[in-house]
């Protein structure tokens, strides 16, 4: 599994979405994305990808692909 697929699976679990439902172009506002999800994503980026993401960058993210870009830096 590549990192993009792995992120999709991680986000599905974190946001309690259907398994294998994310493709990458989904808008975050349609995915239970709230302030608690931002906190959880910061921890997940650190834990699963070893990346210390910038909080304002996470808040600026519009879709799943934007989140993938953050953990790919």
């Amino acid at each position: 599994m590549n990192n993009e697929d792995k992120l999709h699976r991680d986000l599905e679990e974190m946001l309690e979405l259907d398994p294998a439902s994310l493709k990458g172009d989904e808008a975050l506002e349609t995915l239970n994305w709230d302030s608690m999800a931002v906190v959880m994503f910061i921890a997940m980026a650190d834990k699963n990808y070893g990346v210390a993401v910038n909080v304002s960058d996470v808040r600026s993210a519009k879709n799943v692909a934007d989140l993938y870009a953050l953990i790919s830096k």
């Binding site: 302030s35 608690m36 931002v38 906190v39 959880m40 910061i42 921890a43 650190d46 834990k47 210390a52 993401v53 910038n54 909080v55 996470v58 808040r59």
Partner: protein, 348 residues
């Protein structure tokens, strides 16, 4: 870097007093229209103690002090300094420590002063008390407590279910015991945990005292703002290296620690921090489920709630970690050896 080692400052006892009034997360979540299951899973907080209007942090600390001194059998005239650490003092002035000296009946020869620190505040207080004892005083009282619910909006989803009110008293004495401290600051993070109005930068007035719609609810500028995402990022960034520095400075291996008592920020944050510092959760006691995030007193509350029987009977080598508002951080290693720990009491 602010590093200190002490060889003649021992914690003789710790006591905590909390308000009797209890509020469940379920109750507040239903008011805010939030799912209680998700909040409890994230924060670890099932319920908290919330002080009624007539109880201040000083009242909780005074009760804890009376009970601690009685347990220790210390005479009040033997106390040479009183430190009160709080973000919710009784007054802007005078220092609440001065009023506590009087109401507790301590000697007029007792030095008394306040310290404004939150999440890092207990260890700051221990550091100061240890410094005073190391340099000649025989007995010092460290009173640490907050009633953050008094200055938080119950309509703000980021804080409404988080804080528990509490007070603590810790007795320090000049007896051989070794401890190591490291403290640090990054005031660049001040805006992430702040009450902007109500003091001198912005005096309270009819406008800034009104709650307005903000992201996640309603809050006035005279109430606490917290950016939980920035708190998480800050903690994961600063605390793991702090812990490594502490172990190196104290000359301790992880296996030599009997426990790590962290500031009880929330369960999700502590679990992530445990992973980052490579310590098992079994060694990290939590008082969150019963008492919530008890601000500057969360470390003594956790010791009293989770380790009371052990530290009163034998010696534990502990690391303490405090981190948050400021940004401010503090860490220490010390041994708690057969200390006096009266049971947690609840004030009406």
């Amino acid at each position: 870097m602010a590093k200190s080692t002490f060889h003649n400052a021992r914690v003789a006892g710790i006591a905590c007093t909390l308000p009797e009034n209890e509020v469940s997360t379920e109750a507040i979540a239903s008011v805010l229209g939030l799912p209680p299951r998700r909040i409890v899973a994230m924060t670890g907080i099932e319920k908290r103690r919330v002080a009624p209007p007539h109880i201040c942090a000083s009242d909780l600390c005074a009760d804890a002090t009376e009970r601690l001194l009685a347990t220790l059998g210390w005479k009040k005239e033997s106390i040479e300094a009183l430190i009160f650490v709080s973000q919710t003092p009784d007054y802007i002035l005078p220092a609440t420590a001065c009023t506590l000296q009087h109401r507790l009946g301590l000697s007029k020869e007792c030095a008394s002063f306040d310290v404004n620190q939150g999440c890092s505040g207990y260890i700051y207080g221990l550091w100061l008390a240890s410094s005073l004892v190391e340099t000649g005083l025989q007995r010092v009282l460290l009173l640490v407590g907050d009633t953050l619910n008094r200055i938080s909006s119950e309509e703000d989803k980021s804080v409404a279910f988080l804080f528990g009110d509490s007070g603590s008293a810790t007795a320090m004495e000049r007896i051989p015991a070794t401890s190591h401290f490291i403290l640090g600051t990054d005031g660049g993070g001040a805006g992430n945990l702040i009450i902007e109005a109500g003091q001198c930068r912005q005096r309270p007035n009819s406008v800034n005292s009104l709650r307005v719609e903000v992201e996640g609810g309603k809050r006035s500028p005279t109430e606490l703002f917290m950016d939980g995402s920035e708190v998480m990022a800050f903690t994961l960034r600063e605390v793991p290296p702090l812990f490594e520095q502490l172990l190196g400075y104290a000359g301790l291996q992880r296996s030599q620690l009997d426990g790590i008592v962290m500031h009880q920020a929330n369960k999700f944050l502590i679990e992530n921090l445990a992973r980052k510092i490579d310590m098992p959760l079994e060694l990290i006691p939590l008082s969150l489920s019963e008492f919530g995030n008890t601000s500057c007193a969360s470390i003594p509350v956790t010791i009293s709630a989770c380790l009371r029987e052990v530290v009163s009977a034998k010696s534990l080598t502990l690391a303490l970690l405090g981190f948050g508002v400021g940004w401010s951080w503090s860490a220490c290693t010390l041994s708690l050896n057969s200390i006096s720990t009266p049971e947690i009491a609840f004030l009406k």
